[in-house]
Symmetry: C2
Subunit: 237 residues, 2 copies
């Protein structure tokens, strides 16, 4: 509080014309694969506006945290994880997006590995993973934000190796292919997929095998030293 007040006062002393009248929030589209479905973590609002509607997690940006720190804090509060792919998505600032007053939100999206417990936080009555392909009625402009995140993820998948971030640390090529298929919404040819993903040199064998119903499958991991951007060509059409 002391810190906040002194920062605010500094503005009034030295900033010429006006005091701030615009609220700033950070919201995060948290995505994960569950049951061969791409899902987003949604929270149910306890209070108006949009009471009882679903929203993506987020909240007011604190004066003493950067944008990314704000997004990471939201992520930590909801999922407990921090070592994930986190990327600024877009800033939404329509005049009427929050009935309480002028508010802009810097939206981020995060890709988290599949199996994750989630916690409802304060101000919310529930927290659930829900399919991005069947979104419920949502608060504010959050449906637009989720759809934009999906568009961006699909786009990014075509020319980067970001898909691994949705899988556990080690995974099989079939798992990875199913991830791509789930996100892109298309079937991919197994042989072409394997050839290209291996040619991209972003994976390495662990030497382990995953036993299951059929023939055991080689386990791979993401190469930490791999360049994330597949420079040569887009991975998939």
């Amino acid at each position: 509080m002391i810190l906040a007040d002194s920062a605010a006062n500094a503005w009034i002393e030295r900033a010429p014309t006006r005091t701030p009248e615009i609220f700033v929030t950070v919201d995060v589209v948290i995505l994960a694969l569950r049951d061969d479905d791409l899902q987003v973590l949604l929270v149910k609002r306890k209070l108006p506006p949009f009471e009882g509607k679903w929203a993506i997690p987020g909240g007011a940006l604190r004066v003493d945290e950067s944008l990314e720190e704000g997004a990471l804090r939201t992520l930590r509060e909801k999922t407990g994880v921090t070592n994930v792919h986190l990327e600024q998505l877009y800033t939404f600032g329509a005049l009427d997006r929050d009935p309480r007053g002028r508010t802009i939100t810097i939206a981020y999206y995060a890709l988290v590995p599949a199996p994750l417990a989630v916690q409802a936080g304060q101000g919310t009555t529930d927290a659930q993973w829900q399919s991005v392909y069947a979104l419920p009625e949502m608060a504010f402009d959050h449906e637009e934000i989720v759809k934009y995140a999906l568009k961006r993820l699909r786009y990014k998948l075509e020319y980067t190796a970001v898909g691994f971030r949705l899988l556990p640390e080690t995974f099989t090529l079939s798992q990875l292919q199913r991830a791509y298929e789930t996100i892109l919404g298309v079937k991919l040819d197994k042989r072409n997929f394997r050839r290209r993903i291996l040619q991209a040199r972003v994976l390495e064998e662990t030497g382990e095998y995953r036993l299951g119903e059929g023939r055991p499958a080689r386990l791979y991991r993401y190469r930490a030293d791999a360049v994330a951007e597949i420079k040569a060509r887009r991975l998939f059409p």
Copy 2:
């Protein structure tokens, strides 16, 4: 700190009961081609902080305008034009980016056709086009913003038809090729360039010719009905 925390959390659930403490600005990287050089419009600051340093135009977001309207207003004030390519770039929010207090800026970039007069506005003593390849010492984090805009423009040029927006309404293929070469910083093969840009079907002949030193050159214009995204393949490697 605890007080500050609960106060910050409170407002997202309830009506905003306290004054925001974060300032919001919109800044615009305005780009144009001049003399086979890619240039950015910079203004010289009249007042501290960074008095006398160059900055990209922008200012406080007004409470009654959307983000894009704010960017358009800046653009209009500086160049008088509005019918240009304008796109949100990124939101910068480092804690120390403005010594006067916590400020985030939503950065846009604009592509304007080459020949444009510019006006110094209030709070500035000068406005000049300067090469993006030889930037002066700049205020705030504006150098980072300009460099990011260049990166994005190059990237975008590879898979969209956005290059036309830096040329006058009608132009020759050689002009267009020089634009691409100036922005990408590479030489392109004339025959391959022409074949690909024409195959992309985003241009149409005007039927006119531009007379000059050598053989007259066909004039083209951008097809208004063309899809901006070159879906099939990236235009250039």
